[in-house]
Symmetry: C2
């Protein structure tokens, strides 16, 4: 039996066929049809499923489930997308629309943060925990919670928004309307903005060398790589980043006393260069003054597909 | 059958005998023996239990349980106090010490925030919820969480420290070593300090009248009462307080999407004068922009005794 996992983003539709050992045995990627009615997305999804079936020599009889991860607010029980800004989806009956094309196959829908959390929980760094935090540090900051040994969908089903906890009430304005959200101070975007500012102020820094003097080559990774070389400007930015992120993690820590906090997303590829000072700073700031377990995510870019395929 | 609930604080030992309908049928209060070995506290507790038994015409055979709420870190499974600053208790085997005096009676020990949460959960404003928050706004700020329909003891058993989530990373230094904790900006102590500052700067304000010009009569209640009269100085302080508290509640809201958030402690007696603007501000700040249910605690000062008696 195969399970299909869709990881739908504003740029691409990623999909994989996953076997009973949760390995991706076939995959496809298609551009997301921006600005078109959702029915067009559903048609592309249908075609992709048939391509995967053909490649794996399977038929719809071999399909155990189709899971769909969407970046937005989802009503899990109704199987609808309440709103997904980046996709232009509002009140979309996604599960029903896909279900019509595959009437014999159960279809599941969830937020992409929850599918990533599910993948880490079943196969990755959250495996075996009853209380855990996944924080994904990318363009934005998202994540999920494991509470009582399950992916937590929010008390009222709205999901959780770890990136919109406030850590600096007088801090920068967030897209959500609040100030100083974790997302404004702990995203890769923050690193990128600070890197660009530094490049314009001191063009001779290592950030400039690594970006070959080009503003549009500066991103979070460039700043981190420059900091790794010991460049003082980049180290200063990175140090502030670690400090901000440690405030966020110590807040999750005092609220939930988690067994493990897992960092995913682009910034987490900094590895121990990030994790080591972070553990120290979280220990200092957390009320428990405990060495909280903080580790990198294990599932990488496949978390979206595998997590969606794991939906039941 | 009777259950005994102890609410032990740095000033008093409060205790009640609770019947099968969770009503307090007899109660006692004794000063806490400050600076004395814990064995002295245990002796007082023993005497108090016998007084309550006598008053209710009962014997130790009628005792279903003895529950003890302690303001500090508790190892619930071992029944020990890890540390309770205000009591001067460190590594105290409280359950064993009380159990020795009442060998036929089960003894339970927990943090006082958890006993208060349990009381609201079983009998008060958290009744029937699966995901809820209790925040007690007093000299400090504490509270508890209901997760998955149970009082949450923390993922590693350290408990939860809602008052030590950070909402202002550049804010005032907290006793815990971190900056801008909820406790530094949302406690009654914050209101009192701002009230005192206002009194020294503008002695003619309503704060001054209500405190009869005496600095040591200024407390959180005086500031709130002055704000209720429309005094501009007090209204300004109260407005800042509401703003700070709304940041804290919107952070809990985006993390847990709770069915209900309950406010206890002295400040909560401000009632709708506090709750109404707070609901509006939390709605504006929360990512969900949802009218979160925010209500006052129902159990009042008895929450400690009843919650301790409810421990199993």
């Amino acid at each position: 039996m195969l399970r299909i996992g869709f990881d739908i983003g504003g740029t691409n539709i990623d999909v994989g066929a996953v076997d009973e050992q949760n390995r991706i045995v076939a995959r496809r990627k298609q551009p997301f049809p921006k600005g078109r009615p959702y029915t067009e997305t559903v048609k592309i999804m249908e075609d992709l499923v048939y391509e995967l079936l053909q490649e794996t020599g399977s038929t719809t009889d071999d399909l155990a489930s189709i899971g769909i991860g969407i970046p937005g607010s989802i009503n899990v029980s109704k199987g609808t997308v309440i709103s997904a800004h980046n996709l232009g989806f509002y009140d979309v009956p996604m599960r029903a629309a896909v279900g019509e094309r595959f009437p014999a196959t159960p279809v599941f829908l969830d937020n992409d943060a929850n599918t990533a959390t599910l993948a880490e929980f079943r196969m990755g760094a959250l495996r075996g925990c009853r209380t855990g935090v996944l924080l994904t540090l990318g363009t934005g900051v998202g994540g999920g919670l494991i509470l009582c040994g399950e992916v937590f969908e929010g008390g009222l089903g709205h999901g959780v928004e770890l990136g919109h906890m406030c850590i600096d009430r007088q801090g920068p304005l967030c897209t959500c309307g609040n100030r100083g959200c974790v997302e404004t101070l702990c995203s890769a975007t923050w690193l990128e903005e600070q890197g660009k500012k530094a490049l314009s102020e001191s063009p001779s820094s290592m950030i400039g060398s690594l970006a070959r003097g080009q503003m549009d080559r500066v991103d979070g990774k460039v700043v981190i790589d420059a900091a790794k070389t010991g460049d003082p400007t980049a180290m200063d930015i990175f140090d502030r980043y670690v400090d901000q992120l440690s405030t966020a993690l110590s807040s999750y820590a005092v609220l939930l006393d988690p067994e493990v906090m897992v960092l995913g997303g682009g910034v987490s590829h900094a590895g121990e260069f990030l994790l080591e000072p972070l553990r120290q700073r979280v220990k200092e700031k957390s009320f428990f003054h405990y060495t909280h377990k903080i580790v990198a995510a294990e599932m990488g870019n496949d978390a979206g597909i595998i997590g969606a395929a794991l939906l039941r």
